[in-house]
């Protein structure tokens, strides 16, 4: 897997757009969902995901397969998400739970399609997204990287430049905080 990504990167460095397309198709879902859960803004998440791929393309010539490709990709994504939030480019778009429902921001895929169930799911998703966004930055990064992008605690510790036990603590505190916020749903 990792070897093929190195190969793809060397093809991209030679200007092979098909290889780039393959890379985009391979990671677009995980990257988009990571950015979306981080920012809570669908449009911003797409912009971030596109920017990540663009940066990967631009730096393909200098790419050194020293660490995992996925780790590198998500490190770029995390930095871009942080920049977006710090520049307040996203919070102006963050809206309340009920406004989110009206905006229809979540295309819920539910097996039970009754309108009530759909509304319930949508509300729950919105509440969850809001709760995730309210977490302190480091806790949010650690939780999202583990829960939705499948990184191990060790990989996260390398990305965040901290110890494994610090990651363990961050994720635990994030879960505790969510537990307190979402107690009525448990």
């Amino acid at each position: 897997m990792e070897e093929s990504e190195s190969k793809i990167m060397s093809e991209i460095a030679e200007g092979n757009l098909s290889a780039f397309r393959e890379l985009v198709e391979r990671y677009q879902n995980t990257l988009l969902n990571y950015a979306y859960r981080y920012t809570g803004d669908r449009a911003a998440a797409e912009d971030i995901a596109q920017e990540v791929f663009f940066r990967v393309f631009k730096s393909a010539k200098d790419y050194q397969p020293l660490s995992s490709f996925k780790t590198w990709l998500f490190t770029i994504a995390t930095n871009l998400c942080l920049n977006e939030l710090r520049d307040n480019r996203i919070f102006r778009n963050t809206i309340d739970v009920f406004e989110l429902n009206e905006a229809g921001f979540v295309a819920l895929v539910s097996t039970r399609t009754s309108p009530e169930r759909e509304t319930e799911n949508r509300e729950l998703s919105a509440v969850l997204m809001k709760a995730i966004r309210s977490l302190p930055e480091k806790q949010r990064v650690a939780l999202l990287l583990h829960k939705y992008s499948g990184f191990s605690y060790l990989a996260i510790s390398l990305m965040m430049s901290c110890s494994v036990s610090a990651v363990e603590s961050l994720i635990h505190r994030a879960r505790q905080s969510l537990k307190n916020q979402l107690s009525s749903y448990l």
Binding site: G15, L17, F20, R21, V24, E25, Q28, N29, L32, N33, Y36, R37, R42, A45, E46, A49, Q50, F53, F54, F57, K58, V106, A107, L108, V109, N121, L124, S125, L128, M129, L143, H146, K147, Y148, S152, Y153, E168, S169, I171, H172, R175, L178, K179, L182, Y185, L186
Partner: protein, 142 residues
């Protein structure tokens, strides 16, 4: 009680299968004996299930195309910049420099017609009015 505090700190890692086998078995044993820690574990698992229930978003249909197109445009710009624009700029700057060099020389020549004309008459007697006048003109043009 001290045990419970330590165990609870490890519960997330336990749920995420991030503990070493020995640590894992210690926690499993504790959970069998301690109902409050077991309750805490159930809550944390419910949170994990809730997080799992957040549906995945799919990229817009044109996302891949737009991303590849952006890269292609950049590559073209980069190529033009590297192979066409920079040499072209170099040529244009050289041409401008040459034109400026020759034009400046021509300007210099055109700037002194009166002086050059007056030089034809510089054999006036010294201290004469004509000689003083030509001297003044020459000073002015220096």
């Amino acid at each position: 009680m001290k045990d419970c505090e330590e165990i609870r700190k490890k519960l997330s890692a336990f749920i995420d299968h991030e503990l070493a086998p020995l640590e894992r078995s210690l926690i499993e044993k504790h959970l069998q004996q301690c109902s409050s820690c077991r309750q805490e574990e159930i809550y944390l698992r419910k949170i994990t299930d809730l997080l799992d229930s957040v549906p995945d978003e799919s990229p817009a249909p044109a996302f891949t195309l737009k991303t590849v197109h952006r890269a292609a445009s950049w590559m073209q710009c980069d190529y033009v910049k590297e192979h066409l624009f920079r040499p072209a700029v170099a040529y244009v700057l050289s041409a401008i420099s040459l034109v400026f060099y020759f034009e400046a020389g021509a300007l210099k020549k055109r700037a002194y017609p009166a002086y050059r004309h007056l030089r034809n008459f510089d054999d006036f007697p010294p201290e004469s009015l004509s000689s003083i006048y030509i001297g003044l003109i020459q000073e002015e043009y220096k």
